[in-house]
C-alpha cells in the first residue's frame, strides 16, 4: 500500500492524505482522504449546529454520512443506498446513525425487519484519534510506536461527547471514523435522543387518512415522521427551542415486502406507493432541518421503471455492488476489495453545478476495522473506431503514454472525449489502452 502522511486531527479540520511513491503491483489504488475543510470562522454567522458544516458552494448545511471518504463524494439531504445482499448497505446505514449519535443529532430509525433498539445496539464504536492514525500507518508499513497517553484518552472522551456548555459548537469535528469490530458504548446510546419506528408494531393503529394508493406501512411511517418533526420543532414551528438540531432519519430496506409493498413480488404491483411515499418524504425533508438515508433492495424490484423514478425523486443515489457471488469475486484485479461503489446521482441544490468528484471508478473494502473507499489509478481503456494505430504506439510507450496520446490527437486533429474505464480483465501494469469516442 502507498505510504500515507498523518492526517491532522485538529477540531474542525481533517487533513487530506497524500499517497506517495510508486509500486510494482498490478493494481494500484490510492486512498482518498477527507478533503481539508476551510476554517470555520468565516461561517460563524451561519447557524452552528454540532456536526454540520456549511457548504462552500451554496451555503447549505452539510452533515456527514459517518464515512469521511463518502462525504467528499456526496452532498446532503437524502441519500439512497442500493445494495444486493444488504450487507454493506446496512453497514453504511449504521455509520450514518452512529455519526448522528456522536454529534448529538436526534435519530429516527425506521425498519420493518429489525427492532430499531436492536439496530442501535449494533452501531460501530467511534475510533480514538490516536488509534485512527495508527490504523492508517499500519497499512503504510510505517510503524509508529503507539504511545499510550492516558491524558489524551481522557481528553478524547470529553471531545466526543455532545457538548453541554453554552457557546458555539462549530468546533466539533465533521465526520468521524468508526471501528466496526467494536460496538458503540452503551452510555453514548443512552445519552442520545432517538425515536424508533418498527413497522409490525404500528400496523394495528387506526388511520385518519383517506385510502390513497400508499400502503399502510408507508402512511404510518409518514405520519410518524411528520409528528416528530412537528413536535420537536425541526420545521421551525417551535421557536423557543433552545438549540437547533438536525434530525437524522434512517429507513431500512424500503420497498421490501415487509413494508406491505409488493413491488418486489410482482412486476405490475402497486407501482405508485413507493414513489408517492418518497415524494411526500422529500417534501417533509425540504421543510425541516433533517437528513435521511434510505437503503433499498433494488435487485429485488421487478419493475425496472420504478428504479429510474426513485432515482429522479432522490437527491443522492449510491449503488453498492458487492462481489459476493459474482464472477468478480475471483477476479485477481479485485482480490483486495469487496465491491464497487457507483455514484448514480449527486444533488444539485441551490446551484447550477454540483460538486462532483473527478473519478467515478471507486471500490470499497471492509477491513478489520474500517470501511474504506479507494480510487482506481491504473486504467485500461478500449479502443473504438479507426484509431487502432494508436494502440500499438501506446504499447511501445508504456506506462507514461497518456500525455503522448494527447499530443498525437492534437497533431491529427481528432476531437474526442476520453473516458476512463474500469479494468475488467487482468492487465500488466505497463500497458495502457485508451477509449476514444470520435464525435
Amino acid at each position: 500500500m502507498a505510504a500515507v502522511a498523518t492526517c491532522g486531527t485538529g477540531a474542525g479540520s481533517t487533513g487530506s492524505m497524500v499517497a506517495a511513491g510508486g509500486k510494482n503491483n498490478v493494481t494500484s489504488f490510492q486512498r482518498r482522504g477527507p478533503r481539508a475543510s476551510g476554517s470555520d470562522s468565516s461561517y460563524s454567522r451561519l447557524v452552528s449546529i454540532a456536526g454540520t458544516r456549511p457548504s462552500v458552494r451554496n451555503g447549505q448545511l452539510l452533515v456527514s454520512t459517518g464515512l469521511p471518504a463518502l462525504d467528499q463524494l456526496l452532498g446532503r439531504f437524502r441519500t439512497e443506498i442500493w445494495d444486493k445482499y444488504n450487507i454493506y448497505s446496512s453497514l453504511l446505514f449504521k455509520y450514518f446513525l452512529a455519526e448522528g449519535i456522536i454529534n448529538g443529532h436526534t435519530l429516527l430509525v425506521a425498519s420493518a425487519k429489525e427492532d430499531p433498539a436492536d439496530i442501535l445496539q449494533e452501531l460501530p464504536a467511534p475510533l480514538l484519534d490516536d488509534n485512527v492514525k495508527k490504523d492508517f500507518d499500519e497499512d503504510a508499513c510505517n510503524h509508529k510506536t503507539a504511545e499510550s497517553n492516558i491524558k489524551m484518552k481522557i481528553a478524547w472522551r470529553y471531545q466526543l461527547l455532545p457538548k453541554m456548555e453554552a457557546g458555539p459548537v462549530s468546533s466539533s469535528r465533521f465526520g468521524h471514523y468508526y471501528d466496526t469490530s467494536k460496538k458503540m458504548p452503551q452510555e453514548l446510546i443512552e445519552a442520545s435522543k432517538w425515536h424508533g419506528f418498527f413497522s409490525p408494531e404500528k400496523s394495528s393503529s387506526t388511520l385518519n387518512i383517506e385510502p390513497c394508493s400508499l400502503t399502510h406501512g408507508y402512511i404510518k411511517l409518514l405520519q410518524f415522521i411528520q409528528n416528530i418533526i412537528y413536535e420537536e420543532g425541526f420545521d421551525g414551528s417551535n421557536p423557543q427551542k433552545k438549540q437547533k438540531n438536525i434530525l437524522r432519519i434512517g429507513i431500512q430496506n424500503l420497498g421490501s415486502p415487509l413494508w406491505g409493498d409488493d413491488i418486489c413480488c410482482t412486476e405490475n404491483g402497486n407501482s405508485h406507493s413507493l414513489t408517492k411515499f418518497l415524494y411526500v418524504l422529500r417534501g417533509l425533508l425540504r421543510t425541516s432541518l433533517s437528513a435521511c438515508m434510505i437503503t433499498m433492495p433494488t435487485h429485488l424490484i421487478q419493475n425496472k421503471a420504478i428504479i429510474s423514478r426513485v432515482t429522479n425523486l432522490s437527491d443522492t443515489v449510491v449503488g453498492l455492488e458487492s462481489f459476493i457471488g459474482s464472477e468478480r469475486e475471483t477476479n485477481p484485479l479485485y482480490k483486495d476489495y469487496h465491491g464497487l461503489i457507483h455514484i448514480r446521482q449527486i444533488p444539485r441544490l441551490n446551484n447550477l453545478i454540483y460538486d462532483v468528484s473527478d473519478v467515478k471508478d471507486l471500490a470499497f473494502k471492509l477491513k478489520k476495522k474500517l470501511f474504506t473507499i479507494e480510487v482506481r489509478e491504473n486504467f485500461y481503456i478500449l479502443v473504438h473506431g479507426k484509431v487502432t494505430v494508436t494502440v500499438f504506439l501506446l504499447e511501445a510507450l508504456g506506462k507514461n503514454s497518456f500525455p503522448c496520446l494527447f499530443q498525437i490527437l492534437e497533431a491529427t486533429c481528432i476531437p474526442c472525449n476520453v473516458r476512463l474505464n474500469p479494468s475488467y480483465t487482468a492487465i500488466s501494469g505497463s500497458l495502457c489502452y485508451l477509449s476514444l469516442s470520435l464525435l
Binding site: H272, R282, A305, R309, N351, L352, V418, R419, S435
Partner: protein
Amino acid sequence: MFPELNNLLNTTPDRAEQGKLTLLCDANTDGSFLVHHFLSFYLKANCKVCFVALIQSFSHYNIVGQKLGVSLTVARECGQLVFLEGLKSSVDVFFRAQAEPHPLQFLREANAENLQPLYEFVREALKPVDDGEAAWRCPVLLVDDLSVLLSLGMGAVAVLDFIHYCRATVCWERKGNIVALVHDSGDTEDEENNILLNGLSHQSHLILRAEGLATGFCRDVHGQLRILWRTPSQPTTQRDRSLTYQYKIQDKSVSFFAKGMSPAVL
C-alpha cells in the same frame, strides 16, 4: 438566462415568440439548467409566469435565479410570478384534509382520474388582468417536471390531457407559451413515460434535449444539447431543423460549443 443559449435559439427577451410549446427533455443527465434558463428568460421578458415546481423548493430556484439576474421573491410579490411549490404543498395536502379543492389533491386520492384541479389553478393564475392596461406581455406556464406526475399516480394520458387543456387556454386562447420538462428514462422500460414523451414531442414547436455523453462522465463537457425546431400544425415534407451542441455548466452560466470543440480539448 444564458446569453449563449439565446443566440443558439435566435431569440431575445424582447422578441420572444408567442403561442409555442417548448419541450425540455433530459436523458442520462440533469436538464434542470434549461428550466432555470427559461424561468429567468420569461421573467426578464416581462411575461406573467405560472411556475408549477414539483421537484424542488422555492429557495432553490430563487438562489439560482439570483445568479442569473432575476429575483423570484420580487417577481412573486409584484404578481409577475405565481409559484406552486409542489413539495411544500404536498405535505399540507397529504396530512390535512383541505376545505377547497387543491391543485395537488390527487395525492390524497387512490385513483385520481385527471388533473383538473391543477388545470383550474393554472387557468386562474394566468387569467388576464381586467383593468384594461396590459401589465405583462404574455402568459407563460412552466412545469418542472411532468415525469413526477407519473410517479405520483397519474397516468400518461391524464398528463397529456392536462397539457392539452393548458395549450388550448394558454397557447391558443391567450397567445402565451408553455415550457415543460420531461425525463427520458432511456431503456428502463418506463412505458408511461415513453408515451408521455412521444405524445408531447409531436405537439411541440421546440424541443431541447440534454443528453449525457455516450462516453461517460467528463469534467469539461457536461453533456450534449440537441435543439429541434418543429412545426406541428403543418404536416410538411420539409425536414425539421436541428442542431447539436455540447455544453459545460459553470457557476452562473452555461457555455456552448460545437461538438469536439471544447476549450479543454483544443
